[in-house]
């Protein structure tokens, strides 16, 4: 059971490490004190882009609060879901919002945050809401989820 002891020690050592999980592309470091590039698609009351320069809605407000926490400016890009997801794939966006639910078909192309709130759909079913982050940028994802999970 030597192996187990070694593995346990290793895990304990890693747990003390502040850098885990890391972002392969360093997204959180870039955003902090810089600019948060956010894609937004129209889906009131979560997001409203009737005034494209100044989006509004509950998710827009959340993102603005988080950006303030990170000491970052928000730069909004308005577009359709597929255009925004493509842009995030290319690394041009850090986050895509638009009242997405946890059963979104984009789950293979974006990292879904843990559901941060629930609503009731037209058919009475419970809908869990998420935001979409770049795949694999786990430090960024954990920071966002931690913010969203805060009461």
């Amino acid at each position: 059971m030597m192996r187990l002891a070694v593995a346990g020690a290793l895990v304990a050592a890693l747990a003390g490490c502040q850098g885990i999980p890391a972002d392969p592309d360093g997204t959180l470091d870039e955003v902090t004190g810089g600019t948060l590039q956010v894609g937004v698609t129209h889906n009131p009351p979560w997001t409203d882009v009737m005034d494209a320069a100044n989006p509004s809605g509950s998710e827009v407000r959340l993102v603005e609060q988080w950006a303030a926490d990170l000491d970052a400016e928000v730069s909004w890009t308005v577009g359709s879901e597929s255009v925004l997801i493509d842009a995030m794939d290319r690394g041009e966006l850090d986050l895509v919002i638009g009242g997405f639910r946890d059963d979104t078909p984009w789950m293979d192309r974006a990292a879904l945050t843990a559901p941060y709130t629930e609503s009731t759909g037209d058919d009475g079913a419970v809908e869990k809401h998420v935001m979409l982050a770049p795949l694999g940028e786990n430090r960024f994802l954990v920071a966002l989820e931690t913010f969203l999970g805060r009461p």
């Binding site: 999980p21 392969p24 786990n138 989820e145």
Partner: protein
């Protein structure tokens, strides 16, 4: 319970070992069910964990194959199945082997594709006691917990497989013993994700998939060779089974025997022996001597259940190559 599995021809000592083996296989299945549930809950988007999870699912196959085959092989011979049901073990072994081989190949392909297409696994947080915790820690913890038990089970079952001469049990024990590498591999993969090396996850998955594939190759090859009636070998396919030489030597030393050729095949739990004996003269061959020799051959080892002696004028040329005939 144990008595249902007991083959009528198995001596008490081996029947007790078989009952123990059956108990351990049930324990293994229970343990695997727990592991599969736990890993299924925490696996998330990690390719390495998903592969490890599939391996856990697949490692249910050998224990089930063993339990089913043991039950079927114990059934007595019938008019329709005059050789008995011993081959059930070989069939079960083949099925388990092919399952491993197929899944291994699929998973190797999947991990290779996710490496090439630059798949970056997202691993976020879970709420644990009200605080957000990175899921990677949970994955590592669960995988670390799955390390010790299979290794212990593997060692115990390996011993039982040797005593029982059961290749399905051996294959299962062998897989269990190597199982810690799967867990260790997935821990390395998740740690890699944590450190920002996105490829570590797919690479670990490829490593695990390769080990499944290798298990499949070994088991399929072993099962096929046994079904092809290869020369009987020890339970781990390491060397020719010593019983063949025992029988040949015993018959060769009988005063009335001039020449002998023995072929032994493995039908699972037992060995089946065909011995061609050339008597010194027509008169030296009597029914009593044949019966006595056959009983003595069977008494050499409990595994020698089915011994057929065939008196011949000369050793059939088709089967007789000089080196095979007289093991020195």
């Amino acid at each position: 319970m144990a008595s249902r599995f007991r083959h009528p021809e198995l001596p008490d000592e081996q029947a007790a070992i078989l009952a123990r083996a059956v108990r351990y296989e049930w324990l293994t299945i229970g343990y695997l069910a727990l592991t599969i549930a736990a890993v299924g809950i925490v696996m998330g988007s990690s390719q390495a964990l998903k592969t490890a999870w599939v391996e856990d699912l697949l490692s249910l196959a050998p224990p089930f194959a063993f339990l089913i085959a043991t039950r079927i092989a114990a059934m007595p011979a019938t008019a329709r199945f005059p050789y008995g049901y011993f081959r059930a073990t070989g069939v079960a072994h083949l099925v388990a082997g092919v399952a491993l081989l197929t899944m291994g190949a699929v998973l190797v392909g999947e991990s290779a594709i996710s490496l090439v297409t630059n798949d970056r696994p997202p691993v976020g947080t879970v709420q644990l006691f009200g605080a957000p915790v990175w899921s990677g820690w949970l994955m590592i913890g669960v995988m670390a917990l799955t390390i010790p038990v299979p290794v212990i089970f593997g060692r115990i079952k390996m011993k039982l497989a040797r005593q029982l001469h059961n290749k399905v049990l051996y294959a299962d024990a062998d897989m269990n013993k190597a199982d810690w590498m799967t867990a260790a591999g997935s821990i390395v993969g998740v740690t890699g994700i944590g450190l920002g090396f996105w490829w570590a996850d797919s690479a670990a998955a490829a490593f695990i998939a390769a080990s499944i594939l290798w298990d499949g190759v070994k088991n399929t090859r072993g099962a096929i060779t046994d079904l092809m009636d290869t020369r009987a070998t020890t339970f781990d396919d390491d060397r020719p089974h010593p019983d063949a030489e025992l029988v040949a030597r015993y018959l060769q030393n009988l005063p009335w025997v001039d020449d002998v050729y023995v072929r032994v095949r493995d039908e699972g739990q037992f060995l089946h022996v065909e011995a061609f004996v050339v008597p010194r003269s027509n008169r030296s061959l009597t029914l009593e001597r044949l019966e006595e020799a056959r009983a003595a051959c069977r008494a050499l080892d409990w595994k020698l259940l089915d011994v057929v002696l065939t008196p011949v004028a000369e050793v059939p040329p088709l089967v007789a190559s000089r080196s095979e005939r007289r093991p020195s």
